[in-house]
């Protein structure tokens, strides 16, 4: 046998066989002398690759098995350095604490920012000790860990004292005096003597210790049935008796309704194609939202329907029999395969409640911010101090004897209701971590200051294709944009037979080397986060706004795609990909470019210094380029339309933006063609890059697909359209696009907008994936109608683009040299990364939405809804429920429920001129209308009809505040009274009038918001625009712009940044 010498030993294990019997198994166990120690102080030339412990710490610490198992969170503090995890502890975590905990440990070990390593002590000849006869497993593990600590000390020739921390008091007394230089102390003592200032760790320690203690002394009456053992679950899933899926709790009826969606299509019960309902806490059996559960279907006669009534808050528990829909498959949870617990933000109850709550006052029930999470039991003595604070809590366990899960406090966020606290809450609830960039990261960045200009590297200059002289490169962005990540060029090649189209993208990967701290940070952020009043960048500002940004008139590195097109047919002849040097000649903005195209006389700033013929010549050159570009883009668009590309960004949105133009001077008066031209070029570049990397790396390329939507999700859309006499064909993307185009109500443009919005909701999200993880027929992008697609054009604010850039460079290298300098990420790693990016994108969207809602609430909170005119608005009914309807308020972009029946059972009645009041009566619900019957008569509300609502804020102590809509008139809203005589014939004028007035009111509101003192401090601080309302509208676009969420986001976010800088 070659290589290092290994010694074979054997160990005896007692395992459960597949039939459930105990079996004695002998396994080989090879130990060797050469096991890398992972310390930079190593004297024996260990082969340490990867992470290495730094030498400049005062000691190394070796945690015992019990410490790693129960107190891993403390070891996660970055302040604790020089941690050596033993393999013994590592494996114990794997076997006893489940995959999540284990993955956390793994992530900790991989993270270069944490100074810790794994030492494979059980494979080290002198560390490993076989288990003695009759020795308990815990003792044996502790002995192994201690041996490892001693070996470590000796291996480093005593250069570094080693501290072993343990929770086992016997071990302390047994080992502490055995070796000088190796100290054995308890965790608490360790924290006290080495980290006396790290208060957070002390608190966390006592919090966890208390929880552990409580758990031991728990009562024994059972509240829930026990979960079945894992083997039984597995067998049950295989045989089709049980179903596996992810539990999702209905936000509006968190205590009663939860659903389980099937995982994959492997389910054997093909007759069940809907979700399974889990009704009530008993049947849910301790599962928490997001957990992967195993359920058993109930017999058919116990099936229940979902509640269709709108409920106020979550307090109501009595099931309303008459409001239930058709019974649907129901089930109960029999086991949990995987907990998906994260950090939760909770609020402590007021003191008087605390005292009445329980016998022992140490246990407190706190209420999570997220409605879907049950109350959590916390043992703490600080309840008084934490009143009305938002606190981060982690769940520990949920025993069958306890009604609520138990957890422990981690950190205090701040006082509830304050803007900063609420924003932090939103970030945390979406698992977004955006600490400021660390100094070490910023040190990696190149310098570009006034006195110290950044220079191009001469070797880089020679290795890149130089386009500075040969190509006319220009960028088209919103006005005042700082981070330009895409530029364009187009020219006719000599001979005139061919055109050359070029897309040049900022070369971020040159500055962000793979594996650098900046890269790791960007990877964990995955995207730039845009909230209503601020943004969190993915890359430090020196890159995103300066060195990577393709500004006009300066030399920049770029990644380019150049197509040679046939001048006549515009077919692609050849494509060139590679790194280039460019100097953008013109930094145009959309309006300017469009005016140039329209032949208007406009001033191009770059040409203002030139004179006469020279200037005319330059202008003609630029104009020609723009025209050619438009021609090419039209052709590309037409080609995609043939394939059935969807255009879901409603025309209406633009009309809305229309009026905004006056104040913001940002959004074009008309949907400019040049917008589409640029977007089309970007889509084209993305598409071709996707083709290239997929061909080069068929199993490990990062692409983006948009799965076709499920047909059943369209039912609401189809029903609603039917109510208005439109038919929607959803069989293909082509048909859908066409029929949406047709469904326009001349009298009410909102109808089309709402229909498009519903179509958007029915769509699945576009997702990143690794090509090896998905069969080829699923690569299709439904929205764009392209067979392959990826993201390449915005590396400054999306990490996926950075990955694609690296892949493209690797593909070029492979082509040139036939081999790769560095192996690529494997399919599995890439798929994991793609999932991570998808999750972060989803989190970013949610955070964006929630922060908008937060601002809406803040806006209305200061207003008296009874008197303030701005709290009354026009709303459109877009869905009917049993006790009310859902309405959309175009003016504020708010959606919400309007109740027609209150808690006392009274319903809304409408008098002669449309005013509403509460009276005794009944409600009758139909598919397209709902009517209320009272003593004064019957009144019916139809889909898509306009009503007037009053907006008020419903404050909530533990959750986010919410907006509450109250019906005040069954007529469209007109702010000032005069000529509003709603006659049958004059309806169209009325609608127009209303729309116009609504827009005026919205302008007013916008100005109001700008003036609002509460926000202006934040605005100044974060350099955001003074008009948050614009954000709301932009948010609308991105919601509607299903074309591809991200393509539109390019525009969206650039507008965002430009507002920031203006």
């Amino acid at each position: 046998m070659e290589g290092p010498i290994m010694i074979k030993t054997e160990k005896v294990l007692h395992l459960n066989s597949s039939k459930g019997r105990k079996v004695r198994v002998v396994r080989e166990h090879y130990v060797r002398e050469q096991v890398p120690c992972g310390s930079s102080l190593c004297q024996a030339d260990c082969l340490n690759d990867g992470k290495v412990l730094s030498g400049d710490v005062t000691h190394y610490v070796v945690p015992d098995v019990g410490v790693v198992r129960d107190f891993l969170e403390i070891l996660e503090f970055r302040e604790l350095q020089g941690i050596v995890f033993t393999q013994t502890a590592y494996q114990t975590v794997q076997h006893t604490r489940g995959r999540r905990h284990y993955n956390r440990l793994r992530a900790l070990l991989k993270d270069p920012r944490h100074d810790c390593v794994l030492f494979a002590n059980e494979f080290q000849q002198y560390c490993y000790c076989p288990r003695d006869k009759g020795e308990s497993q815990d003792k044996w593990h502790t002995r192994n860990v201690y041996n490892a600590a001693v070996w470590y000390y000796n291996h480093l020739a005593g250069l570094q004292p080693v501290v072993m921390i343990t929770e086992d008091n016997d071990a302390i007394s047994e080992f502490s005096a055995l070796n000088s230089g190796v100290y054995v102390i308890s965790t608490q003592e360790y924290l006290l003597s080495f980290w006396p200032d790290l208060q957070a760790a002390h608190d966390l320690y006592s919090s966890i210790a208390q929880t552990l203690q409580e758990r031991e002394s728990e009562a024994v009456e059972k509240v829930y049935t026990e979960h079945l053992p894992a083997e039984v679950l597995e067998a049950g899933i295989k045989s089709g008796r049980y179903i596996q899926g992810i539990l999702s709790v209905n936000k509006h009826r968190a205590q009663n309704e939860a659903f389980v969606r099937y995982e994959g299509s492997a389910s054997k019960n093909t007759d069940l194609n809907s979700d399974v309902l889990i009704n009530g806490a008993k049947l849910r059996n301790r599962a928490v939202h997001g957990d992967m559960v195993v359920i058993e279907l109930l017999p058919r006669n116990e099936w229940k329907g979902r509640t269709m009534a709108l409920t106020e808050g979550q307090g109501e528990e009595q099931p309303l029999e008459e409001t239930q829909s058709q019974p649907m498959p129901s089930g109960r949870v029999v086991g949990i395969l995987q907990r998906n617990w994260r950090d939760y933000v909770v609020t402590f109850p007021p003191l008087e409640e605390v005292q009445s709550q329980s016998r022992n006052s140490q246990k407190i029930l706190v209420i999570p911010w997220d409605y879907r999470i049950p109350k959590i039991r916390i043992s703490t003595q600080q309840a008084e101090a934490l009143q009305d604070q938002r606190v981060i809590v982690r769940l520990d366990s949920w025993e069958s004897t306890s009604v609520y899960p138990s957890g422990h406090c981690v950190r205090v966020l701040g006082k509830a209701g304050e803007l900063e606290t609420e924003i932090q809450t939103i970030l945390l609830e979406n698992s977004i971590h955006v600490p400021p960039f660390s100094e070490a990261q910023l040190r990696e960045m190149p310098v570009n200051t006034e006195e110290n200009r950044w220079q191009m590297d001469s070797s880089e200059v020679s290795s890149r294709r130089d386009l500075r002289e040969t190509h006319l490169v220009f960028s088209i962005d919103p006005k005042g944009c700082e981070d330009v990540d895409d530029t364009l060029s187009v020219r006719t090649l000599p001979g005139g037979k061919r055109l050359e189209l070029g897309v040049h993208i900022a070369d971020v990967t040159y500055f962000v080397r793979e594996g650098s701290l900046t890269d790791l940070e960007a990877r964990s952020r995955a995207t730039t986060y845009y909230l209503a009043d601020r943004r969190y960048d993915m890359l430090p500002a020196v890159l995103s706004a300066d060195l990577c940004s393709l500004l006009g008139g300066v030399d920049r590195y770029a990644m380019s795609v150049l197509w040679e097109l046939d001048a006549e047919t515009l077919d692609v002849c050849t494509v060139w990909y590679g790194r280039t040097l460019i100097r953008s000649s013109y930094q145009l903005h959309y309006e300017l470019a469009q005016s140039l195209l329209n032949g208007e006389e406009v001033e191009v700033p770059e040409l203002s210094r030139l004179k006469g013929s020279q200037r005319d010549q330059k202008l003609v050159e630029l104009l020609q380029a723009l025209e050619t570009l438009t021609r090419v883009a039209r052709h590309l668009r037409a080609q995609r339309d043939k394939g059935g590309a969807l255009e879901l960004e409603g025309v209406e949105v633009r009309a809305q933006l229309d009026e905004e133009k006056n104040i913001t001077a940002l959004v074009p008066k008309q949907p400019l063609e040049v917008h589409e031209t640029v977007a089309e070029c970007m889509i084209y570049a993305n598409h071709w890059v996707a083709r290239k990397i997929q061909e080069s790396f068929p199993h490990q390329a990062l692409l983006r697909h948009h799965p076709p939507p499920k047909q059943e999700f369209f039912s609401q859309l189809i029903d609603c359209a039917k109510a208005r006499g439109f038919s929607i064909d959803t069989r293909s993307n082509r048909a859908l696009a066409d029929s949406l185009e047709q469904a326009v109500d001349r009298q009410d443009p909102l109808v089309n907008r709402l229909l498009r919005m519903m179509a958007t909701q029915a769509m699945s999200n576009a997702l990143y994936f690794s090509t090896g993880a998905c069969p080829e027929e699923q690569y299709y992008h439904y929205g764009l109608a392209l067979d392959r697609y990826t993201h390449f054009t915005s590396p400054i604010r999306r990490y996926a683009d950075v990955l694609v850039h690296r892949l493209l460079m690797a593909a070029i290298q492979l082509e040139k040299e036939g081999s790769l300098a560095k192996p690529l990420a494997s399919n599995k790693e890439l798929e994991e990364l793609a999932q991570h990016i998808n999750n972060k994108n989803r989190a970013a969207q949610h955070a964006q939405k929630q922060s908008t809602e937060l601002f809406q609430c803040l806006y209305f909170r200061d207003k008296d809804s009874k008197t303030d005119e701005r709290c009354v608005a026009d709303a459109v009914i877009y869905a009917i429920r049993a006790n009310g309807f859902l309405a959309f308020i175009p003016q504020y972009g708010v959606k919400g429920a309007v109740y027609l029946k209150d808690r006392e059972g009274q319903v809304v009645s409408v008098d002669g001129d449309g005013r509403c009041e509460w009276k005794a009566g009944t409600l009758q619900r139909y598919s397209d209308r709902i009517s209320s019957c009272t003593s004064t008569g019957t009144h019916t509300f139809y889909l898509f009809s306009h009503v007037t609502v009053r907006i008020s804020v419903e404050p909530s102590r533990c959750h986010a505040d919410s907006l509450c809509l109250e019906l005040i008139r069954n007529k469209p809203h007109c702010p000032v009274q005069p000529e509003s005589q709603p006659a049958g014939g004059g309806r169209s004028e009325l609608v127009q009038e209303v729309v116009r007035r609504a827009e005026e009111a919205s302008l007013q509101a916008v100005e109001e918001r700008g003036r609002k003192p509460k926000l202006s401090r934040e605005e100044r601080q974060f350099r955001q625009s003074r008009t948050p309302n614009l954000y709301v509208l932009l948010q609308e676009i991105s919601e509607l712009a299903l074309l591809d969420l991200s393509v539109c986001q390019i525009r969206n976010t650039e507008e965002q940044t430009s507002t920031a800088s203006s």
Binding site: G3, R24, E28, H699
Partner: protein
């Protein structure tokens, strides 16, 4: 509980080996006096005993014999105590017959059967302890036994298994790795010529990974051939010392 991790992030397998390292191989030849050739081989905890009789006249019906070469008759069995749970039927079940057939095919490719027309060579192999890689242990033991019997072969036949975990080929799988659900490829190689005598794989594997896997198995086989060669040479030395006296 998290599942078994066959290959750790540090590159260690369950039993402490690295991906390309083989288990410890120990072997002895001439363990029985009454047989023509015999060998005992341990590959990790897998223990195999091989006995060879022949070449001799064909037993039983004449019709089985071939006019131009020898017939190879293989019989594989497992001791009842070889697995963790006691086996009911030591031989004759489907798996054993399949294994017998595979062994027969392997050695028909390696033994110079055409030197012994109308005769028969019997190879009996028994697994005493099973811990993964039964087929390869049998082949390696039988090779040594054939050498011990003095039957001319083209080359040593060395066999080894290889698996594929997390995009890395693992050489010489132990029982826990084999039963972990991954791919397992068994390969018998004539190392000097590089010819493959038998290649068997049951589980699914992406075509792109096959080359890497075969490569790993072949490297492992070549490593094994050195060990086998050493065993034979050492045995020869011992015997020659004995005969000199």
């Amino acid at each position: 509980m998290a599942g078994l991790e066959l290959l750790s992030d540090q590159g260690y397998r369950l039993d402490g080996r690295k991906a390309t390292e083989l288990r410890k191989v120990q072997a002895r030849t001439s363990v029985f006096a009454q047989a023509d050739g015999s060998a005992y081989l341990e590959q990790g905890n897998t223990k195999a005993l091989a006995v060879v009789y022949g070449p001799h006249e064909t037993r039983g019906s004449r019709s089985k014999s071939l006019h131009d070469r020898a017939v190879i008759n293989c019989q594989f069995s497992m001791a009842t105590f070889s697995t963790a749970e006691r086996k009911r039927r030591p031989h004759g079940d489907r798996k054993s017959s399949e294994m017998s057939l595979h062994l027969k095919q392997t050695f028909e490719a390696a033994v110079l059967t055409e030197l012994y027309p109308r005769s028969q060579i019997d190879i009996y192999v028994k697994i005493l302890q099973a811990d993964g890689g039964n087929y390869s242990a049998c082949v390696n033991a039988a090779t040594l036994a054939l050498v011990d019997a003095g039957i001319p072969m083209r080359d040593y036949v060395c066999a080894c298994t290889a698996g594929f975990v997390e995009d890395t080929p693992l050489a010489d799988l132990c029982h826990a790795e084999e039963s972990g659900g991954g791919t397992s490829l068994a390969l018998a190689l004539l190392p000097r010529s590089g010819n493959i005598a038998l290649l068997q794989m049951d589980a699914r594997l992406h075509q792109d990974h096959l080359d890497a896997l075969i490569e790993a198995a072949m490297t492992a086989c070549k490593g094994l051939s050195k060990v086998l060669d050493d065993v034979v040479r050492q045995h020869l030395e011992e015997v020659s010392v004995l005969t000199r006296d």
